[in-house]
C-alpha cells in the first residue's frame, strides 16, 4: 500500500471524527450558500415587482401649480402626498426615495407654451434602493410629456411624427435563462470560494496542527517520503472539500426545487447535468486550494498564523468577479486559462446554458491542472525544509 494512500485515509478518518469540522463543511456551508442565494433572489424579485407594480407614494411640492399633471399621475397608480419643506435633506436621510418639485412658475410657463419645469430630487449614489422608483417616475413624466406634446402638435395641424425623427425600440436578445441578477453573479464567487478554501480546517489541522500536536516529527521519522506525506494530505483536503462542494450543490438543487419557482429567478434552478459540469469546472480550484492551503499551513508556525492568511485567500477568488464587474469585457479565449477568471466564466456559461467547446474545456482544465502541479511542487519543496519539524 503506498504511503500517500495511507496518509490520505488516515487524514480523512481523523477529519470525520472532528464533529465541528464535519458539521461546518458538510452541513452549515451547504445550507448557508444556497440560502443566501435563494434569499437574495427571492428578495430581489419581490422588491423589484413591488417597485414596478405597486402604488407609488410620491411627495409632491407645489402640487397646486400643476393640477392636471398631478391628476394624470394619480390615474397611473401614484398616490400623491404633500411634499416636505426641505426635500434635499429628506432624500439624503433616506426617508424618501424620490420627491417631485413643481416650479411655482409652472402654470405661467404652461399657459404660454414654454417648457414648464419639474424637478426630481433623488440620491444617485443609491441606485439599488431608489433606481427603479426614479426610472418609473421618469417614464411616467416622459409619457405625460409626449402625450401633451402630441396633442399640441395636432392642435396646430402638424403631424406628431414630425417631432419624432427617431423611433427607438428595444430588442433584448438574451435568452430567458441568462437574465442577470445579483444572486446569479454571486453564485460563481461563492462556489469558487467554497472550492478554494473549503478545506482550510483540514489542511491547517493536518500540517500546522500536526506540528503543534508534536506528531509531525515521528511521522517524518518513518520511511514515507515527504512528497508522499504531503500528497496524501493535499488529496485528503481536496477530497473533503469536493464532498463539501457536492453536498452544497445538491442542497442548492433541493432549495431551489422546494421554493415556489414564481418567487425567484428561474435561471438559478440548475439541472443535474449542469451540476456535474460545475463540479468538473471547480475540480482544479479544489485541488489548487488544497495544495495552497497545505503549503501555507506547512509554512506557518501555528494554527493561528495559518489562519491569518485566510483574508488573503478569500480575496483571491473574488478578483476576477470584481474585474468583470468594473470591466465587463467581451470573453476572450485566453481568459479561460486564467485561474478563477476562467472558472468564473465557465460557471456563468453553464448557468446560462451556453455551449462550451472541447477546446475551451481543454484550455481551462489544462491551465488549472498545470497550476496545481506547480503549487504541488512548491508545497513539496516547502515540506523539505529542515525547520519544518525541528521547531522544538
Amino acid at each position: 500500500m503506498s504511503a500517500w494512500w495511507t496518509v490520505l485515509r488516515k487524514e480523512l478518518v481523523d477529519a470525520f471524527r472532528d464533529r465541528r469540522m464535519v458539521v461546518v463543511a458538510l452541513l452549515v456551508m451547504p445550507l448557508v450558500v444556497p440560502l443566501i442565494l435563494a434569499g437574495m433572489s427571492a428578495l430581489g424579485t419581490s422588491r423589484q415587482a413591488e417597485k414596478l407594480e405597486g402604488t407609488l407614494e410620491l411627495p409632491v411640492i407645489g402640487a397646486e401649480h400643476a393640477p392636471n399633471l398631478v391628476a394624470w399621475l394619480r390615474t397611473n397608480d401614484v398616490r400623491v402626498v404633500a411634499g416636505p419643506d426641505d426635500p434635499d435633506a429628506v432624500v439624503r436621510r433616506q426617508e424618501r426615495e424620490v420627491i417631485l418639485r413643481i416650479d411655482p412658475r409652472f402654470a405661467a410657463d404652461w399657459r404660454s407654451g414654454r417648457p414648464a419645469g419639474v424637478e426630481l430630487v433623488f440620491d444617485s449614489s443609491r441606485p439599488l434602493q431608489s433606481g427603479a422608483t426614479v426610472a418609473r417616475l421618469r417614464a411616467l413624466l416622459a409619457g405625460y410629456d409626449r402625450q401633451v406634446g402630441t396633442l399640441r402638435l395636432i392642435a396646430r395641424g402638424i403631424h406628431p411624427s414630425v417631432a419624432q425623427p427617431l423611433q427607438v425600440a428595444d430588442r433584448d436578445v438574451a435568452a430567458p435563462e441568462s437574465r442577470f441578477d445579483l444572486a446569479q453573479q454571486m453564485l460563481p464567487y461563492l462556489l469558487l470560494l467554497l472550492s478554494f478554501i473549503g478545506g482550510m480546517q483540514l489542511a491547517v489541522d493536518a500540517t500546522a496542527g500536526e506540528r503543534e500536536r508534536q506528531s509531525l516529527e515521528p511521522l517524518l521519522a518513518t520511511p514515507a517520503s515527504r512528497e508522499a506525506i504531503i500528497s496524501g494530505k493535499i488529496l485528503a483536503t481536496a477530497a473533503f472539500t469536493l464532498l463539501s462542494v457536492l453536498v452544497t450543490l445538491l442542497m442548492y438543487r433541493v432549495v431551489f426545487a422546494v421554493v415556489p419557482s414564481g418567487r425567484m429567478d428561474a435561471s438559478l434552478a440548475v439541472p443535474f447535468d449542469a451540476l456535474l459540469r460545475l463540479v468538473v469546472v471547480v475540480l482544479p480550484v479544489v485541488l489548487l486550494g488544497a495544495t495552497v492551503l497545505t503549503a501555507l499551513a506547512a509554512f506557518a508556525r501555528s494554527h493561528r498564523e495559518a489562519q491569518g492568511y485566510l483574508p488573503l485567500l478569500i480575496f483571491l477568488p473574488m478578483l476576477p468577479t470584481l474585474y468583470l464587474m468594473v470591466a465587463p469585457v467581451k470573453t476572450q479565449p485566453w481568459m479561460l486559462a486564467v485561474p478563477f477568471l476562467g472558472q468564473n466564466q465557465l460557471i456563468l456559461r453553464i448557468l446560462r446554458d451556453e455551449p462550451i467547446g472541447a477546446g475551451e474545456w481543454l484550455l481551462n482544465l489544462g491551465a488549472g491542472l498545470a497550476l496545481v502541479a506547480l503549487a504541488w511542487w512548491l508545497a513539496a519543496r516547502l515540506y523539505h525544509r529542515e525547520q519544518l519539524a525541528a521547531s522544538g
Binding site: 488516515k10 478518518v13 506528531s215 516529527e217 521519522a221 518513518t222 520511511p223 522544538g392
Partner: protein, 248 residues
C-alpha cells in the same frame, strides 16, 4: 549498529551562529544499551535528529547497519525505531489506530501490523487503553503508545529521546525492563537522558555530551577508571565540569 563520525551542526539564530553539535563521534553496538548523557541543551536531541535524518549534518557521517544516512535516508529510517522528543499522538484516533498508521507507513501489511500491535501492547501493558481514543491519555499511556508505534516495524536499532520524561516511578520501571528486553533480543538501543541515575541504571556504554562535544565515553567501569572516582556521579560531574542540569 549505529556509527557516528565527526558530526557537526550549527544553527543561525538572530544573526548569531550557535554550534549545537561540534564534532561528535561514538558507536552504539547491537545487543547493548548506549546512553547519551548530557545536561539540557548539550546537543543530544540535535544529534539524534541527524541520526534519523530529520536534519542534515553540516559535516560528519552517520552509519546505521553500515548504511550511510546521507545517501540512503529512506533505508536508514526503515532500520530505525524512533521515539522523538516530540511524541504527539493523533487524539481522534485510538492507540491501536495510531500504531497501525505507522505500521502501514512502514509498508507492512495489515495482518503483520495486527500481530505486532498485539505483541507490543502485551509487552508494554497497554491492554486497557489500546482501543480508546488518545484524547485524555495520561503521560505514561501516551509514551507507551508512542513507543509501540515506533517499534511496530520491528527495527534492529532503537533511538529514544528522553524516554522516561514525565513518567511516574512504576511506568519508568516497566519501561526500563522493556528496554532490557530489547537488548536481550540483540537490538541496538540508544537513548538520551539528562538524568544520571537513569543512565547508570540501564546502560552498557555511556557517551557524555556537554556543549555539543563528547567529553567522555565508555562503560561505567571505564568512566570510573578514567576519572579516578569510585562514585559514577562524581565521575560525571568531573567530566562535564559542572553539576548543572545533571539531576532531575
Amino acid at each position: 549498529m549505529i556509527e557516528v563520525q565527526g558530526l557537526r551542526k550549527s544553527f543561525a539564530a538572530r544573526g548569531a551562529t550557535i554550534r549545537a553539535v561540534d564534532d561528535v563521534s561514538f558507536e552504539a553496538r547491537d545487543g547493548e544499551i548506549t546512553g547519551l548523557l548530557g545536561p539540557n541543551g548539550a546537543g543530544k536531541t540535535t544529534t539524534l535528529r541527524m541520526l534519523y535524518t530529520l536534519m542534515r549534518p553540516d559535516a560528519g557521517r552517520v552509519l546505521v547497519d553500515r548504511l550511510d544516512a546521507a545517501l540512503r535516508p529512506g533505508d536508514v529510517r526503515r532500520r530505525l525505531g524512533v521515539l522523538p522528543d516530540a511524541r504527539g499522538l493523533y487524539k481522534r484516533l485510538t492507540a491501536r489506530e495510531n500504531i497501525v498508521y505507522f505500521g502501514r507507513l512502514h509498508g507492512l501489511d495489515d495482518s503483520l501490523v495486527r500481530s505486532r500491535t498485539e505483541r507490543l501492547a502485551a509487552a508494554l501493558g497497554m491492554r486497557d487503553f489500546l482501543d480508546r481514543r488518545a484524547e485524555g491519555f495520561s503521560q505514561g499511556q501516551r509514551t507507551k503508545t508512542a513507543i509501540a508505534r515506533a517499534l511496530v516495524h520491528d527495527p534492529r536499532n532503537v533511538l529514544l529521546d528522553e524516554p522516561t520524561n514525565g513518567l511516574d516511578v512504576m511506568t519508568t520501571r516497566s519501561l526500563r525492563q522493556f528496554l532490557r528486553e530489547l537488548r536481550a533480543e540483540g537490538r541496538c538501543v540508544l537513548f538520551s537522558s539528562h538524568i544520571m541515575q537513569e543512565v547508570a541504571a540501564l546502560c552498557d556504554r555511556i557517551v557524555v555530551i556537554a556543549q555539543g562535544r563528547v567529553v567522555a565515553q565508555g562503560t561505567p567501569d571505564e568512566l570510573r577508571a578514567q576519572t579516578g572516582r569510585q562514585n559514577l556521579e562524581d565521575a560525571f560531574v568531573q567530566v562535564i565540569g559542572s553539576e548543572e542540569g545533571l539531576f532531575s
